[in-house]
Amino acid sequence: MPASIYHELKKLRAAGLPAAVATIVEVKGSVPREVGAKMIIHPYGKHIGTVGGGCGEAEVIRAGLDVLQDGRPRNIQVDLTEEISMQSLGVCGGTMTVFVEAWQESS
């Protein structure tokens, strides 16, 4: 069985590294990944998993780094409904809600 994202999270925790976890909790229309898809945002950029790649994921990574700073969980709306053009390569047509949280002792 492939090691789950929770195994990776446990390893990071054991190494004393803080990590944020992003989860797709809701989708509308066409998006690159399904509800339940998860990603670990690593403080030094060694992210694990994907919530769909591209600009949307970049937004989620930024949110993850913010969460690592302030510890406050949040929902990120990723909008992939822009006009199709040469500038916007990752357009799928839908929107998704991604919950971003830190896994830490106090919670």
Binding site: M1, P2, S4, Y6, H7, L9, K10, R13, T23, V25, E26, V35, G36, P73, N75, T97, F99, E101, W103, Q104, E105, S107
Partner: protein, 278 residues
């Protein structure tokens, strides 16, 4: 507290136990302090959930709704609006990974085992030829070298037996072995049974089994034979892709039509004609 939840979750995944992780993803009003809290819910209703969402009287409803999601193995975002405030809880179901049994360790089995592993299936490969049923050929699968029917029977006898989480592909070196394996599992509630063979051959095999073994014709309706989706596959690796595509189509309830659909329809039409005959 999170650590305890993480430990128990990892433990459940390793033991291939199903569990649901509940997380409060939005909360305001009186519920605001609950944001980010988690708990683990088990399929066994008697077992106490690990952790507490801190939702007070609402917890009862949340756990009942989460249990429903757990039962159908579906992630779900639950929302509640009460005079005290609003809450959203994400229910993430950690289901057992699906299990693919490949009977026959030949040229299709090798790429199929690799692709199935990549698609997060647990894979078991079975063959009576030890020179083929070798772990080096199948680095990501459990490999069993032994007689087909006996080994399949042993697999059926383990734990709860074969069921809706199990998929089987029959690609042995000879049709007699495929048929032996088919007869062994035909009454199990498997998610998928696929058997290789040309349309003509499959048709003849089903008729023979009906005639000589008295097996009701309808029992073969759920057998995917000829196996796979029609993508024009030719090489063993391409055939493995076409088999895996069919398995995903079954698993996800996709709209693609299987190669076996034509035979199934023809056999059903013939049965109906026979039933309507005076």
């Amino acid at each position: 507290m999170s650590d305890r939840i993480l430990d128990q979750l990892v433990d459940a995944i390793e033991r291939r136990q199903t569990a649901a992780l509940l997380t409060v993803t939005a909360a305001d009003g009186d519920y605001a302090p609950c944001l980010g809290r988690r708990c683990l819910l088990w399929p066994d209703a008697e077992r106490e959930p690990a952790g507490d969402l801190g939702l007070g009287a609402l917890a009862h409803n949340v756990l009942a709704d989460a249990r429903e999601a757990l039962e159908v193995r579906e992630h779900r975002l639950l929302s509640y609006s009460r005079p005290e405030g609003t809450v959203a809880v994400f229910v993430e179901v950690q289901a057992q990974p699906p299990h693919l049994i490949i009977a026959g360790a030949g040229h299709i089995a090798a790429p199929l085992a690799a692709i199935a592993h990549t698609c997060d299936f647990q894979v078991t490969v079975l063959d009576d030829r030890p020179q083929y049923a070798r772990p080096e050929r199948f680095p990501h699968a459990r490999v069993i070298a032994g007689p087909f029917r006996e080994e399949l029977r042993a697999l059926r006898g383990q734990g709860p037996g074969l069921g809706e989480n199990d998929y089987i592909v029959l690609v042995t070196r000879g049709h007699q072995h495929d048929i032996d394996c088919l007869l062994e599992v035909l009454d199990d509630p498997l998610a998928y049974i696929g058997m290789i063979g040309s349309r003509r051959r499959v048709h003849a095999v089903f008729e023979l089994l009906e005639r000589e073994q008295g097996i009701p014709a309808a029992k073969f309706d759920r057998v995917h034979a000829p196996i796979g989706l029609d993508i024009g596959a030719r090489t063993p690796a391409e055939i493995a892709v076409c088999i895996m595509a069919e398995i995903i189509n079954v698993q996800r309830g996709g709209p693609a039509e299987s190669l076996s659909e034509q035979i199934r329809r023809a056999r059903q039409a013939r049965r109906e004609r026979a039933a309507n005959r005076p």
